[in-house]
């Protein structure tokens, strides 16, 4: 566990808090102890002081008594005996005090008892002295001895008192020492703890602050997100809603109200209020689905209509899914999309499409019928002309025969044109069936078809690699026929035509000429010939309908053949390109999608 992870864990603050409490309690405990020590020490000092004072007091009383005695001895006036008389009582009081003060100290109590004894002895000495002096003068022989005894007692008392005081002082010293010792570590310790606490508090503060910042940040982002969501709802014509499962309540977003044509939150978000807007025909369907949603907590895609208060009909599409987020109660989050525009666009498009298709069909039909029905009369013309030429030729003059010939030529030309037009319209028919077929077979059929002219021109046609592909067989066959026939027609005089057909599989991305491709792979079929070629600048024009590069006298043709090729290739979603070099030859490249 790295420091950072400890820092970021949720236990961090709790443990810091606990630690702080503990430290505080500890510190207060320690402080309390020290306070007690302090007052105890103070008490001790006071006590010592008091003891000293009392002891001094005793000495003082005794001294007073002594002084009184001396006064009496000197003056024999009993007035000086007052201290002695009062002295006993005072001394007893003092002793009582002292007993109280030293009750906890065994040594002192011993001392005190000793002192007490000594004081008793002194006082008895006083009495004996007084008794002695009562009847005689101080010069009597007993007097010195008693007086000396008295002095010695007094000295002993002083010694004892000093001992007691010394003891008290020593005790005070000892306490002071102990106190000092205590005091030595305590400040550092407390300072250290306080420092630690401060550090912990600082860390906690930074963490809390950081967390707060994060929260603020997240909050701000949330606000932005909310605003953006609202915005997107408006722009994309969505209305979000929620179904709170436990409470069986709905929440509608502002935009949902707007979709209904109402002001946001202008009525309670209940299902009944919403249903008011639903189109009567869709009401049942929607109600059933909503009920299901309340059970399953899921609303699959459903389309229905609503009618706004202003009578406008809108198309809606709704969807809802169950969601569990953190501690929140189970909800179904749903979204309703106003798809009226899409629906209307689609309808418009369909209509347009239909019209176009109709148009196309008409044009195709027209084209076909025109070409087809034009054939009949033309054929008749040609046949009757041939009959004339056969049967009645002798009856015609030379110019008559010539005219007949010319008519015949013109009709042949028309025939070619109509044939090609018919072929062109046939490639337009949309109902073509694709088959998987070997292109080599189609190529073979094409060469068979052109067998006569191939033989006539002594042409050689070579093939390579034609694949099996999914095509419209007759159309591809026609394509091959048209291209081969072109190569043969536009061959160089006196040169044997050579046509080479090769095929490769290529990737659309590697071929520059193919743009906007639908497939990845294409069959690339190239027809190359050694004919008269053409100028590359016409490479696109030649595929245009009726476009020719030569006049009728040089080469026959209708200008439709290559357009048919282009149409066929387009029917297969492929491409065709031409390349020509005058006097060298031409090549036609066909791309057919490989599925």
């Amino acid at each position: 566990m790295t420091l950072k992870s400890i820092y970021n864990s949720s236990w961090f603050l709790k443990s810091v808090f606990a630690l702080s409490i503990f430290i505080i309690l500890f510190v207060s405990g320690v402080t309390y102890k020290h306070m007690k020590n302090l007052s105890y020490s103070a008490n001790q000092v006071e006590q010592t002081y008091k003891v000293s004072v009392e002891l001094e007091q005793i000495i003082s009383y005794l001294k007073d008594t002594e002084t009184g005695q001396r006064g009496f001895i000197i003056t024999q006036d009993s007035i000086y005996l007052e201290p002695y008389l009062k002295g006993r009582e005072r001394i007893n009081n003092t002793l009582a005090q002292l007993r109280e003060l030293t009750k906890n100290n065994e040594d002192q109590r011993v001392n005190l008892r000793e002192l007490n004894t000594l004081i008793e002895e002194r006082l008895s000495n006083f009495s004996r002295t007084y008794a002695n002096l009562k009847n005689s003068s101080p010069n009597n022989p007993r007097f010195d001895a008693i007086f000396l005894e008295g002095k010695n007692k007094m000295d002993e008392i002083r010694v004892r008192v000093n001992t007691m005081i010394a003891l008290e002082n020593r005790r005070l010293e000892e306490r002071k020492e102990a106190y000092k010792k205590d005091l030595k570590f305590t400040p550092m310790f407390l300072f250290g703890l306080t420092l630690l606490t401060l550090i912990l508090i600082t860390i906690s503060y930074t963490k809390i602050q950081a967390d707060i910042d994060k929260l603020k940040d997240a909050n701000a982002k949330l606000e932005i997100f909310k605003a953006s969501a609202n915005q997107s709802e408006i722009i994309s014509k969505h209305g979000n809603w929620q179904w709170i499962v436990e409470d069986k309540e709905f929440i509608f977003s502002d935009n949902l109200y707007r979709l209904l044509g109402e002001e946001p939150q202008s009525f309670d978000s209940t299902i009944d209020n919403f249903m008011q807007f639903v189109h009567p025909e869709d009401l049942e369907k929607l109600s059933i689905q909503v009920e299901k949603m309340m059970e399953d907590q899921e609303l699959p895609f459903i389309n229905y209509r609503i009618i706004r208060k202003n009578g406008e009909i809108r198309f809606f599409k709704a969807r809802g899914k169950k969601v569990n987020i953190g501690d929140f109660e189970k909800r179904v989050l749903g979204t309703t999309h106003d798809i009226t525009d899409e629906v209307e666009n689609l309808l418009a498009l369909e209509e347009q499409n239909f019209e176009l298709e109709q148009n196309n069909k008409e044009l195709s039909a027209f084209n076909y019928v025109a070409s087809h029905d034009l054939q009949e009369p033309l054929r008749k013309i040609q046949t009757f002309i041939s009959r004339l030429e056969d049967k009645e030729a002798s009856k015609f003059s030379d110019s008559g025969k010539l005219y007949l010939k010319r008519i015949s030529n013109a009709s042949s030309r028309m025939r070619l044109l109509i044939d090609d037009l018919l072929q062109f319209s046939r490639t337009n028919k949309s109902d073509q069936v694709f088959e998987t077929i070997n292109l080599n077979d189609l190529m073979e059929n094409a060469t068979q078809d052109l067998a006569e002219i191939i033989q006539e021109k002594n042409a050689t046609i070579t093939l390579k690699n034609l694949p099996i592909a999914n095509v419209i067989p007759f159309q591809i066959q026609q394509l091959f026929i048209n291209l081969l026939s072109n190569s043969l027609k536009y061959s160089k005089k006196e040169v044997k035509p050579l046509v080479h057909v090769a095929c490769d599989v290529v990737r659309a991305s590697e071929e520059e000429v193919i743009k906007k491709t639908k497939s990845d792979f294409y069959y690339k079929i190239i027809f190359t010939d050694n004919g008269i070629g053409f100028e590359q600048e016409y490479a696109e024009k030649i595929f245009m309908l009726f476009n020719r590069l030569h006049n009728r006298e040089s080469y026959s043709g209708t200008g439709i053949g290559l357009s048919i090729c282009k149409k066929i290739v387009e029917n297969h979603k492929g491409f065709i390109f031409a390349n020509g070099k005058p006097n060298t030859g031409a090549s036609f490249t066909i791309y057919l999608p490989k599925k």
Partner: protein, 148 residues
């Protein structure tokens, strides 16, 4: 050829085509007897009669009113009475698929009406000859397919 003449029938709604047809056979002098009918209904009405002389070859135009060539073809193929009759579709240009379809539906021959009389004679002669070959050599009529 056979001392018995060959019976040929044409069904075509076009007057000129019927004329060409009969003229061609006249000039061919092939010992044939040619009958023509103006549309599919007339043709089938004749063929269905019990006394009908089943022709060796029937030439059938496709585009006829009331009953088209394909409809006639279907009816003919459905009746075993005509199993020995060769059927030649005689029509103006049709697409490759349509031509193949006539064969698939049972036609033996497809002829694209030529625009030249000489060619017509040649074609008709060829058809008649080949048909006779089939007839005399016991060749399999089912495989008799020809396109001109």
């Amino acid at each position: 050829m056979n001392t018995n003449f060959m019976h040929i029938v044409l069904a075509d709604d076009d007057e000129d085509d019927r004329l060409f047809f009969t003229d061609a056979f006249d000039e061919l002098k092939l010992n044939t007897k040619v009958s023509t009918y103006n549309d599919g209904v007339e043709l089938m009405n004749y063929l269905k009669t019990d006394t009908a002389k089943i022709p060796q070859i029937l030439f059938l135009d496709l585009n006829m009113p009331r009953k088209s060539g394909m409809e006639c073809l279907a009816e003919i193929k459905a009746d075993t009475k005509f199993k020995d009759m060769a059927i030649a579709i005689y029509s103006t240009s049709a697409s490759e698929e349509d031509i193949e379809n006539t064969f698939v539906q049972g036609a033996n021959i497809y002829i694209k009406k030529p625009s030249d009389f000489k060619t017509l004679k040649k074609i008709l002669s060829q058809v008649v000859t080949i048909n006779w070959q089939y007839h005399t050599n016991g060749l399999n009529k089912d495989n008799f397919l020809m396109r001109l």
